[in-house]
Each structure stands twice: as structure tokens, then as C-alpha cells.
């Protein structure tokens, strides 16, 4: 554990740390482009130069190992001059693209430029022209002129996605980053190069020109694409509704979690946010006696649903009610469902897993075959009844009233069973085949519109936070269920998800560990 001094402050670090990491631990930010903690060290940008006592030349802090007794200065005159000159060199062939570049506002060239004070240019020559606005993959667009050759993207394709699409070709200041011949950047993690590119050389096609980044707000959340539960940030814009066709969620970005996804996320998750603003059920629906779904209002629908449930309970007992919850719901919502239906009403059969849903694509990195974020959570809460059996009972008439959450039963077998079912209540977010055969439709909220927790496949409890208000007339599932429960006569008075969480897990959200908590066999 070497102990060294940086800018007069002492710190002890792990053996093998470099000086840059040591500085970070002291909250001293050393400017850098090519260094990334998740990739190998390139040492080529030369921005992180620092002055180390007894060394004749400035040394790059991303490579030099921290040693006992080192005295480092990150703000001496020599260092400042070096930073300024490196920035000047990088700007020599960099195009004046800030007005049209998407990276503007989160660009490391801009940021360090303001910090370092390299304002006036003395470059009178012609800049080198390269290819601009070239789509190199389904999600990524390349601008070679903006590239500062930090090689983060080539190292990513080599080391992390191991797909080797990008390389540095030619030599000297004619060097360019480009695709290998006859290749496209279509690996399942291609979107990560957009995050790691410090400038606007690699940008997101879906996000291109949609919204300036300083208009975006962010919120911490968990991806609901699969059971890995990668930590993400939802970037949304609710203030300027005329941007991006009215889309609220503009993009998703990964958050660092050293135990789950480190710095990365897969493309499927990253670009799978369309359902939050598209094709939503915007108001409660009721099927008229003639047979078509019609827009209604909450009071009416909830009244009809609660009456239906009460009547069924009285006449047929809890066996007449079938509940199919969803592994897309949060732990809090599943707990509430269990409390209302199982504990209060006595419904025995509550299932969550769709038996027709096949395992999707899985790999040995982040992507899991189970495309639901909370299967493990549902399992832990004991909601494990056989869904097929429930549907069969509904089709045969044993179950009179079926309450389905979020599922899309597309298989013809399920479709048939649903067709024969008595009264189907659907609570969920988007229109699908099951909604179309339901009798009552309650529009719920997506994970971006509520607080809660998911338990990922390895039993890690992770919290996600609300970014948006529920769209249009939809409500959070907790609110819907609480109102329904009260109409049924059960005293359910939770103010928010955290209260449920406190009751279930015994802690507040604040007390949860930063990177999620493992269940470790605890059962609630």
C-alpha cells in the first residue's frame, strides 16, 4: 500500500494503482482522453502529464504506478503549460463543428478548453479533411475529422466486445479511425463506444439532432430489458415538448456498477426505451356490452372492477379469482399484489412467469436470456404458481375473473384460452394482444415513471427512481392497487413505494448499499 503526496495532500493507495487513480481518490481531477478505467492503458493522448519530483520529464499519470514517497504536482506551471499545448495540438486539425455537433455540452475538448484557458488560436494553416457523418453501424455514426485518436473505441472493440471492427489506419497526422474492410459496427454492445468517445466523433444515430444535452435532466434507474439489471441513467426532456417529436425519454446511458455491468450496457437495453412514450394506453378502457373497448374514466372502471372482484369473491370464493402478475413489476408492487390478493383475499394461485415466453439471446457478457428485470424478485416473493394452469382454469370457467398485469400472451394457445375466459382485467403500460381481449383496462406506469426495486438474476436488490410523471391518465401500479384495495374494503394506505419497501425489507432506500444489495438467502 504505497503512500504518496499529491499537491501537498497525502494518500495511501492500493498497490498497482496509477497516479491518476490516486489523484481521483483525493478528488483531484487530472484531465485525460485516452485513459478509461475499464480499458487497457494507451498513454497516447498525453493530457494527463503531471510533474513528479526527481523525474526529469513530465510523466503520464495514467501509466506511472504510484510509489511510496512520490511527490506529485498536478497544477504546477510546467503541467499547466503542457496541458495547454496538448490541447492546442489536438485542436490543430479539429473542425469547428461545435454548433452542429451533438457532443456539445458534454464534450471533453470543450470542457478542458474552458478549464485550461486555451482560447486564442494561432493556427493559420488548412485543416486536414476526412470523412464526416458516416453511419458505421445501426446505432453509431462516425465523424473522422472530430476524432482525436484517443483509441478508446478501438480498444473497446478489441477488449470488451471482442468484435474487432474498428482500427487506426495510415500514419502520422493522416491517421484515421475507421471500420475494418467490409465490416459494420453491429456487435451487441456497439452503443458503448458513444459513451466512451470523449468528443463528437462517435455519436448516437437515434439521438442525432434530437435535443441539446443541456436541456436534458437525468435520473438513476435500472434497465428493464433483461434480468441482468444494468444500472442506467434515464436522460429525459419534459420542459421543451416540441423537441424530438414530443418524446420524453431521449436516451439511456449506463451507470458505473462494479458488480453488475461495470461501465457498459447492451444495445438492446440502451435503445429499448421507445415503449415508454409510444403505443401507451393513455386512459382507462372498458369493454361495452356490444363488445368494443371504449375510453372511460378511473372512477367508473375501478368501480366496475372492484364490484366484479367483490361479487366473485362472495359467490365463488378466492378460487374464482386468478391473478397473473408480471416479472416486469417491481418488488414493491409484487409485495402489494401478494398482500391484497393472497393475504387479504386468499387467492392461492398467483403466477408471474409466462410459460410461452422463450429465452432470448444470451451471451457471456451482459445479456441474459430472461428478458424480465424482476423474475428473481417474483420468485423470492413466492408468486410462483403455474400461469398455464391459471389460464386453463379461466378458460374452463373455474376462474371467473382474471387479473393480468403487463403480459402479452401472443401464442395461439393462450389467445384461445383468453378468448374463453370470463372477465379479464388488464393492468399495464402498452397496447398488446392481451389488452385487446380484455374487459377492463387499467393504464399503469412504466419503470421510468415510478420508484421501486428490482432483484436481478443473481439476487441483487437494486433501486430505480422515478424520472417522469405517468403519461396522460396512467397511474403508478401502487396507486391503482391501493385505490382498488380500499374500494374492496382493505385498509391499504401506503403513501409511496418506499413505505412498502420499508415494510417489506425493513430499511429505507437511503440505507441501501450504493451498488445494490445481495439477498444472501434472506426471504421476506
Amino acid at each position: 500500500m504505497p503512500s504518496l503526496e499529491i499537491n501537498g495532500q497525502s494518500i495511501e493507495v492500493e498497490t498497482g494503482s496509477n497516479v491518476l487513480q490516486a489523484a481521483e481518490q483525493l478528488d483531484i481531477h487530472v484531465p485525460r482522453y485516452c485513459y478509461h478505467p475499464g480499458l487497457s492503458v494507451a498513454g497516447s493522448c498525453r493530457m494527463c502529464l503531471v510533474e513528479i519530483e526527481k523525474m526529469p520529464k513530465l510523466a503520464i499519470s495514467c501509466h506511472i504506478q504510484a510509489q511510496d514517497g512520490m511527490k506529485v504536482s498536478t497544477e504546477s506551471e510546467k503541467v499547466k503549460q503542457a496541458r495547454k499545448s496538448m490541447l492546442e495540438f489536438l485542436l490543430v486539425n479539429h473542425p469547428l463543428d461545435c454548433p452542429v455537433c451533438d457532443q456539445s455540452g458534454e464534450c471533453d475538448l470543450q470542457n478542458y478548453y474552458m478549464e485550461v484557458g486555451q482560447y486564442d488560436s494561432r493556427f493559420l494553416e488548412n485543416k486536414i479533411k476526412r470523412r464526416k457523418a458516416v453511419p458505421i453501424g445501426p446505432h453509431v455514426i462516425l465523424d473522422q475529422e472530430r476524432c482525436i485518436l484517443c483509441t478508446r473505441c478501438t480498444r473497446f472493440c478489441n477488449e470488451i466486445s471482442q468484435s474487432n471492427e474498428l482500427g487506426v489506419f495510415n500514419r502520422g497526422n493522416r491517421s484515421v479511425i475507421d471500420l475494418a474492410p467490409a465490416k459494420t459496427l453491429d456487435n451487441p454492445y456497439s452503443g458503448n463506444v458513444i459513451d466512451i468517445c470523449p468528443v463528437g466523433a462517435l455519436t448516437e444515430r437515434e439521438f442525432r439532432f434530437q435535443c441539446r444535452v443541456w436541456y436534458l435532466s437525468t435520473q438513476e434507474s435500472i434497465c428493464n430489458g433483461c434480468s441482468r439489471g444494468c444500472n442506467i441513467s434515464i436522460h429525459y426532456n419534459t420542459s421543451l415538448s416540441y423537441k424530438a417529436g414530443g418524446k420524453r425519454v431521449q436516451r439511456l446511458k449506463p451507470r458505473l456498477n462494479p458488480h453488475v455491468n461495470r461501465w457498459w450496457m447492451c444495445d438492446e437495453g440502451r435503445f429499448g426505451y421507445e415503449f415508454i412514450d409510444h403505443n401507451r394506453i393513455e386512459s382507462p378502457q372498458l369493454r361495452a356490452v356490444q363488445g368494443k373497448l371504449q375510453t372511460s374514466d378511473w372512477e367508473q372502471v375501478l368501480q366496475e372492477v372492484s364490484t366484479g372482484l367483490k361479487t366473485t369473491l362472495e359467490n365463488f370464493g378466492p378460487e374464482g379469482i386468478g391473478v397473473i402478475a408480471s416479472p416486469q413489476l417491481s418488488n414493491e408492487e409484487l409485495y402489494l399484489i401478494r398482500k391484497i390478493f393472497a393475504e387479504s383475499m386468499g387467492v392461492q394461485e398467483i403466477g408471474t412467469r409466462n410459460p410461452w415466453e422463450k429465452e432470448g439471446f444470451e451471451d457471456d457478457f451482459l445479456i441474459r436470456g430472461d428478458k424480465n428485470p424482476n423474475s428473481r424478485g417474483a420468485e423470492e416473493l413466492g408468486l410462483n404458481s403455474d400461469v398455464k394452469a391459471i389460464l386453463e382454469k379461466a378458460a374452463s370457467g373455474k376462474i371467473k375473473i382474471l387479473y393480468i398485469f403487463q403480459h402479452n400472451f401472443e401464442s395461439p394457445e393462450a389467445q384461445e384460452m383468453l378468448g374463453q375466459a370470463g372477465y379479464v382485467i388488464f393492468q399495464g403500460t402498452n397496447w398488446n394482444k392481451t389488452v385487446e381481449v380484455s374487459n377492463a383496462v387499467l393504464p399503469g406506469a412504466t419503470y421510468a415513471e415510478k420508484d421501486g426495486t428490482f432483484t436481478n438474476f443473481e439476487g441483487r436488490l437494486q433501486r430505480f427512481q422515478q424520472a417522469l410523471l405517468p403519461l396522460s391518465e396512467s397511474k403508478s401500479d401502487i396507486e391503482i392497487l391501493s385505490t382498488l384495495a380500499r374500494k374492496l374494503g382493505y385498509p391499504v394506505t401506503y403513501l409511496d413505494a418506499e413505505e412498502i419497501f420499508r415494510e417489506w425489507w425493513g430499511r429505507t432506500y437511503q440505507e441501501l448499499e450504493e451498488f445494490g444489495e445481495l439477498l444472501n438467502g434472506q426471504k421476506r
Partner: protein, 175 residues
């Protein structure tokens, strides 16, 4: 540092105030007779060069103003007539009244890359501060049309769109 207060009583003449009143009346009379004389002369077609009064006879006569005056906005054009604006959103961001609404789109020429699909200025909100002109990196928006009359019968009519703003710049730009 002390302040010395000096009090002095008004003199008798000052207290009566008659002199001041007469002085003011003399000024008024001077203006009155001069204007009368000049306007009568104007009626006969004489002394046209001399101004009759300080009133600007609007709308035939307009008050001259400096070229720096911030008047109605216009979007400038390139040589080929297309707008210079590249939808960088600088003006939209800096506008203190949030009255500019821009939506960007992909320009077919990779050298230009971006252009405004929609560019609205809500003049009902605009405070004519001129920040948008200062912020623009492309010299695409200017407030030098000299126009100050743009009233409308509806609030919507005060929202000027891209075409209207562009129309105030000549096609192609004068050399």
C-alpha cells in the same frame, strides 16, 4: 468624510417666483409663434426645409434610429439562398424569454450537416434583448430589419416561423 450641509434662505425675488414664470412663458410663446409662422409658411410651400415642431408626423415621417437598434428579427441566407442557421440552439438557450423554438434536422451536405426544420420566434414573448444575435456563431439571425410594425389580430399571428423570418433576407444575398 463629513458632508457639510449649507442652508440658505431664498431671496425675495426667488420666493415670488414671478421671474421664473415669465421666463417659462417666454419660452412657450417663442415655440408657439415660431411653429405658427413655419407651419403657415409650409402651407404656402415656403420654408420646407425648416422643421415646424418636434413632433414626428407618423406614419409619413418616421423617427430616425441607429442601425444598432434591435428591430424585427430576420434569418440570413447563404449564397445559394438556403438559411445560414445550423440549428445549434445557442439563441434558443440564451433567450431570457424562452421565445425561440427550434427543431433540427439532417442536412444532405455533410459539410453543413444540420439545418432548422422548424424555427419559430414568439414575438409576444420576445423582449428584444438581442442576446440571440450575440450568441449566434453563424451570423444567421439579425435584428437589423428596421421594422417595428408587426402587430397581429391574434396571439398565434405573432409567432413568426422560419419562412417568414427568412423572407426578410434577400435571395440571393446582395454582394
Amino acid at each position: 468624510m463629513a458632508i457639510k450641509q449649507v442652508e440658505r434662505d431664498l431671496t425675495f425675488r426667488e420666493r415670488i417666483y414671478i421671474l421664473e414664470i415669465l421666463k417659462a412663458l417666454r419660452l412657450t410663446a417663442r415655440h408657439l409663434f415660431r411653429n405658427l409662422f413655419v407651419h403657415i409658411a409650409h402651407r404656402f410651400g415656403l420654408l420646407r426645409r425648416l422643421r415646424g415642431g418636434v413632433t414626428y408626423q407618423y406614419p409619413e415621417e418616421r423617427r430616425p434610429f441607429s442601425p444598432r437598434l434591435r428591430t424585427l428579427h430576420r434569418l440570413t441566407r447563404r449564397q445559394d439562398g438556403s438559411p445560414r442557421c445550423v440549428a445549434c440552439m445557442m439563441c434558443e438557450t440564451v433567450c431570457p424569454a424562452h421565445c425561440i423554438y427550434i427543431v433540427g434536422g439532417e442536412h444532405p451536405d455533410p459539410q453543413i450537416e444540420k439545418y432548422p426544420v422548424r424555427f419559430d420566434i414568439d414575438l409576444g414573448l420576445c423582449v428584444f434583448c438581442g442576446y440571440c444575435v450575440e450568441a449566434c456563431p453563424e451570423d444567421a439571425i439579425r435584428m437589423d430589419t428596421g421594422k417595428l410594425e408587426f402587430s397581429s389580430y391574434s396571439r398565434e399571428g405573432l409567432i413568426h416561423d422560419l419562412q417568414e423570418l427568412l423572407s426578410r433576407s434577400t435571395t440571393p444575398p446582395k454582394r
